[in-house]
Point group: C2
Chain length 758, copies 2
């Protein structure tokens, strides 16, 4: 690659594919991309890439239609006789379609095929258990002992290609049963909080911990197409198919991306398109005023409606596959419909109506709360705000509006309950928003693999065990339903789904809102600052594709792709060490930071490092109310803010009682005395001490483990991680000591184990 670390597309990961004879069948930009990838791999590892173009070019006799057959017909003719061999591709040479469609004249002993990637047509039909691949899906099957990837749409072929890369040699295992793969949701989106102009406080990337933006620099588009293409390739390999290219806090310069500077967005779209990624734009609700010169942005004003319609037409004229608008309205100072006495449904719908004729979407964020709260007022509860604002609007949004809801009710803390909004709006398309950028989880200076945290959210069943999960909500399924992908062999600890309906019952992309994450990538050579933070980006894409997938299996995939066996001195040691360092790193982070779900306790402003009272007397609505007797936020119906009533049963009752509330969320829901006994048997205060000492011990052990990789993996990666582990140790000790000292000074309760508290 021209720029940036190879990340989870290490060249060696392409060796199994690149050392074989591969046929690519189909036409279109994304098929070109597939062929490019294959050709590059073959050039590197001695294989051959061939291509056949339009369906008509393939010999029909080799492709018996078997759309209704249970499995691929083993009687099909040998793939060696596959159509349209294009001859060996020279290193770096990408044949044109004309070359590729040379036809079967070249067939011969040196044109045998070991692998086929084909768009389904008469020449290359196929199904698995009678099911077609579906929009972005693919089938991995075999014909005459040759693996065949079949897709209906070019994007599916691309995803199939990266699936082969993940499988490596095992893709060629003759005993592999046929599989059908489809994404759980059609919307797998990354939001970049990138500013075009450097913001005086937030910098080039708001909450960015990986250097500058890959899109923008000092007020202008970077125009680094090679780097962007590399990024698109990584995203496609993880499953992401949509990206918003500017910060949801839309400042003056960024507002103009919608109109005068649209060309810069179009150029980004041109680079991302070959990898199946649609570009979205964060827009300001005040655009009709600040860009259109209108006197109002009232969504019910006819001139405002016309302005949005006309502006959106111009966007699509330039970017025909434009994804849509992302809006943070009436939130933390951003303008919104409240200024005009209108609802958020009114606000979202005016944009939706403008986008609908073109197939575009509105992502409307539910992150609306009073950010000028008075800390003295214990009755106001920021956790309640999104539900209070949005639940009454269920059913009022257009079909192309997606309500984008942060996974927790407050703000991306390491531990929060699942937002009750996600269970409150059955007639609304809901997207779950995660934060891949580690604002509150160590800012890419700490190892904190977030897959397990997201998995907990995705598997949470708001209506009780056995009912639909949050993943189902995001996929648009409200009733009990199984995974959208029927891949066998899913065998990790998280594999058990909430049910197992057959394929075709979901219709995910049609009505769901999908998964969204705030991106963690910048212009850092390692993309994400901390090399191990790459795993979070990868895992987001993979879990968005398949929320049922075990996050540790995803991590294992990532390890295999990033540190392929053929590129390291001791593959087993690498794998073992990375698992030891990363598997439990999120819970480890939770141990040494704010305890028992109480949240925050971070430095105001930059949110890195501890400051127990940092937000305690602020306007941001994030308090812990610690006094000499106890700590926590009473959000019960009985005596607190009533937030628990926003949950359906059984959770409304589970959370209501300090006795039934899960330990890890106790202080989120209840104010309890320090000697309150947890389900674990420990008291709250002793739990605080114990977990904080344990967390630091664990980080020290992580650092020790990492040293085993010195000389085993790439030195630059090793050093970068080692240096960040030093900072993690320092920071974890600081967290431990500040939290323990704070609570010891307040409670006066000594540590039962007599460890040092200051």
């Amino acid at each position: 690659m021209s720029d940036g670390n190879a990340a989870w597309l290490h060249p060696e990961a392409f060796r199994p594919l690149g050392s074989r004879r591969v046929l690519v069948h189909g036409a279109g930009v994304l098929v070109d991309t597939v062929f490019d990838e294959v050709a590059r791999a073959c050039a590197a590892y001695g294989g051959r890439a061939r291509r056949s173009g339009e369906a008509a070019a393939g010999p029909t006799d080799l492709a018996p239609a078997s759309a209704s057959a249970g499995a691929v017909n083993a009687d099909t003719g040998p793939v060696d006789a596959a159509p349209s061999p294009a001859g060996q591709v020279d290193a770096g040479t990408v044949p044109t379609d004309a070359d590729a469609d040379a036809g079967p004249a070249d067939a011969g002993s040196d044109t045998g095929v070991d692998l086929v990637l084909a768009l389904r047509d008469a020449a290359w039909p196929g199904a698995v258990d009678g099911a077609a691949p579906g929009d972005e899906g693919f089938l991995l099957t075999r014909r005459d002992d040759v693996p065949v990837v079949l897709a209906d749409a070019p994007a599916g072929l691309l995803y199939g290609l990266f699936h082969l890369v993940r499988l490596g040699e095992s893709a060629f295992d003759a005993t592999r049963p046929p599989q059908r793969h489809r994404p759980a949701t059609a919307l797998r989106m990354l939001d970049h909080w990138d500013n075009v102009d450097v913001h005086p406080v937030m910098g080039q990337v708001e909450r960015g911990y990986a250097g500058g933006s890959i899109f923008w620099r000092d007020g202008a588009a970077r125009g680094d197409r090679a780097r962007l293409r590399h990024y698109a390739r990584l995203l496609a390999a993880s499953g992401v198919n949509a990206i918003s290219v500017n910060n949801v806090n839309v400042h003056a310069t960024e507002a103009r991306l919608l109109t005068g500077r649209l060309g810069e967005v179009a150029e980004i779209a041109d680079v991302l398109r070959p990898y199946g990624i649609r570009v979205h734009l964060s827009v300001t609700f005040a655009a009709p005023i600040v860009l259109g010169g209108l006197p109002t942005a009232d969504p019910c004003d006819e001139a405002v409606r016309r302005w949005w319609a006309a502006t959106t037409r111009r966007v699509y004229a330039r970017i025909p596959d434009f994804g849509g608008y992302l809006v943070k309205a009436d939130s933390e100072g951003q303008p919104g419909p409240f200024s005009y006495g209108r609802s958020h449904a009114d606000g979202a719908n005016v944009l939706a109506d403008a986008l609908a004729p073109h197939g575009g979407l509105v992502h409307w964020r539910a992150f609306v709360y009073n950010h000028h709260q008075d800390w003295r007022d214990r009755s106001t509860d920021r956790a309640r705000a999104a539900h209070d604002h949005f639940a009454p609007l269920d059913g009022l949004f257009r079909d192309n509006v997606i309500l984008q809801v942060k996974h927790g009710p407050v703000d991306f803390q390491p531990r929060e309950p699942v937002s009750p909004v996600l269970a409150a709006m059955p007639a609304t398309r809901m997207a779950v928003e995660f934060q891949v950028t580690q604002e509150y989880t160590g800012q890419q200076r700490h190892v904190c693999y977030l897959g397990p945290a997201w998995r907990e959210v995705l598997r949470f069943a708001p209506w009780g065990p056995g009912g639909p999960s949050i993943a189902d909500v995001a996929a648009g399924r409200r009733g009990p339903a199984g995974p959208a992908e029927d891949e066998p062999g899913r065998d990790g600890p998280g594999a058990a789904g909430p049910g197992a309906a057959g394929p075709g019952t979901d219709g995910a992309g049609a009505v769901g809102g999908g998964l969204v994450a705030v991106a963690n990538v910048g212009d850092d050579p390692f993309w994400t600052g901390h090399p191990l933070a790459q795993a979070n980006l990868y895992a987001f894409g993979r879990l968005a594709w398949d929320p049922e997938r075990d996050p540790l299996a995803v991590l294992d995939e990532w390890i295999g792709l990033t540190f392929p066996a053929s590129a390291t001195g001791d593959p087993a040691l690498v794998r073992e060490t990375l698992h030891a360092v990363m598997d439990d790193s999120w819970r480890c982070y939770e141990r040494y930071t704010a305890p028992l779900g109480v949240g925050f306790m971070v430095q105001p402003g930059d949110h890195y490092g501890p400051d127990v009272d940092g937000y305690e007397y602020s306007r941001w609505g994030t308090y812990h109310f610690a006094d000499r007797d106890g700590v926590g936020v009473d959000r019960s119906r009985a005596t607190g803010t009533g937030f628990t009533s926003q949950y359906p049963p059984p959770w409304s009752a589970v959370y209501e009682s300090a006795e039934s509330c899960p330990d890890e969320l106790l202080l989120f829901f209840h104010h309890v005395p320090y000697d309150h006994v947890l389900h674990s048997g420990s008291t709250v205060i002793q739990h605080i001490y114990d977990t904080h000492f344990a967390g630091v011990e664990q980080v020290l052990a992580m650092r020790q483990r990492w040293r085993a990789l010195d000389g085993v993996i790439d030195a630059a990666v090793y050093e970068r991680v080692a240096e960040r582990l030093d900072e993690q140790v320092r920071s974890a000790i600081e967290w431990r000591d500040q939290i323990n000292t704070y609570f010891f000074r307040k409670s006066g309760v000594p540590d039962r184990r007599h460890r040092r508290i200051y």
Copy 2:
């Protein structure tokens, strides 16, 4: 004035002088300035300004020598017959010396004189009680019922002029006895913490609360000579005679003021010179490296010595009256001699040797401490640091080195004990550094008249009552000594000095270090943001001139000059209201902020508003150690950091015991339980509650009082103050509630008076 509010030189304050016939006698730039001032006033108010030039031009028969006489000789000829009338001066016309020396030919009935300002010479001799005016001093006496100001040096004449302005009509009172005025110290300096380049965090002016810098804007000199001249005039009228034009934190651009950008400093010096103000420069100790290209800045390196000598020669070639260098070394990241294993005496002396041939001074700051302290380490005490570093160096500094010591041992808190360094170095010239800019005292959003606070410092007697005061130390007097100015009629509550020796016993300027303050002025139209903060700047100058002066009398002067009777609707109401709002405002600020001398509890970074634990777990060495049982820092010898031993007796003993320690400093020196009983009879916790409720009540009353001036004073001033009082009320309530809540949550002790605590 071309720019900026008139402040304490309201045109109306010049009416008594400007409506008379005034003779100015003498030559030189500063005498030109005096004449300009007189001429302008006369042009405005119908008087006449005349001038006689060199001493030779004056008729000797009217000036009998009386240097040894007790009082001005009443037999002297009538001033009406004074020499060299220059005729009426047209408005705005400043006669040249040639014009002014027209001689007595114009004498006649319309050339009578009501006031004389003269440089002493054979024509205009005089003394008071046998004493000459001295370097910057002046005599105010009478000859033939006409007031006469006599000075030996032009600067004295300028100070005499502004003294007349302060006196107003009373200057012409025939019963006024003759007076001699001299400054207590020759060094009355303002330090501007102004950056040339806008600093990404600190802005144009570090800790500036009055807009941009008056010297610099966006990397370049502003070149606003009219505004600068106005500023110089205000400073001269307050008594300031030295100014440092750039931040003590010397960044890359600012470093170059010493060499490549010296011309910009020279231009400032040119504007300030006519008002008797010498320019100083903050320099970086690393200058030999960063500017000189040397491999080291080791003060004992011969090349380094030569570089400083040569560089300093070039400075004086350009600015012959250059004041000297101000250095913050080995402090908060600034470079210093520690890097080379050298002492601060070595460091200061290399600069001093370079400056000595030219009469320049080094101001070397004693603000050296470990700013990477570990909060866990209770044995390290930032308060000790300056004494630990500098006391052993006493006697090792060159004669032209002044050790510049913050008044308190920590950092400009509203209440600190006096720094023990000031009493620890009898063989070193010591300057006391105050902070006029209100970093920790309300940032010019709160009314906080600091005169009373400074007066407490200046009157503090480190060796016990009756011994020398801090003012004496600054003036270079170690033994019991009286005020340097024998003005009668000093009658305020602070007038009683520690003794009353006659004039001539001090030799102040010769060996003292003087008073220094961090400036509070910016490009704000009111100069200081809050119009009432002008009084702090004025008071600093006046107290530097005469530390024995009652700060409330100074305030009264300021009121009279700023709101002259002839310019307001109700002078008595104005005076009464301003006293009501300002007299006790510092103690009021103390009431609602950090209690009992404990300090800090401010928001980290910007230092505005409360954050009780904001610095509690930081590296800055400013802790309060509050726990559920008590609060305060144990700095005793017996059980604490031993800081009390840095004081001489009796204070070492007074501060050592919690019983004898003054209430207002109790928590600075001792960690005590919340139920510790103060001398006041209240407990610590109840004192905290009471003072915080009382402080807010007082601010509310201040705001109410201010409203009486609506329509009575200038509307812009009224509005600006009213708006800031609203903010002060808001902020004081925030302080009250956060402090009270914090300590209630921690102590669990209820307010005896059952007021609302959150």
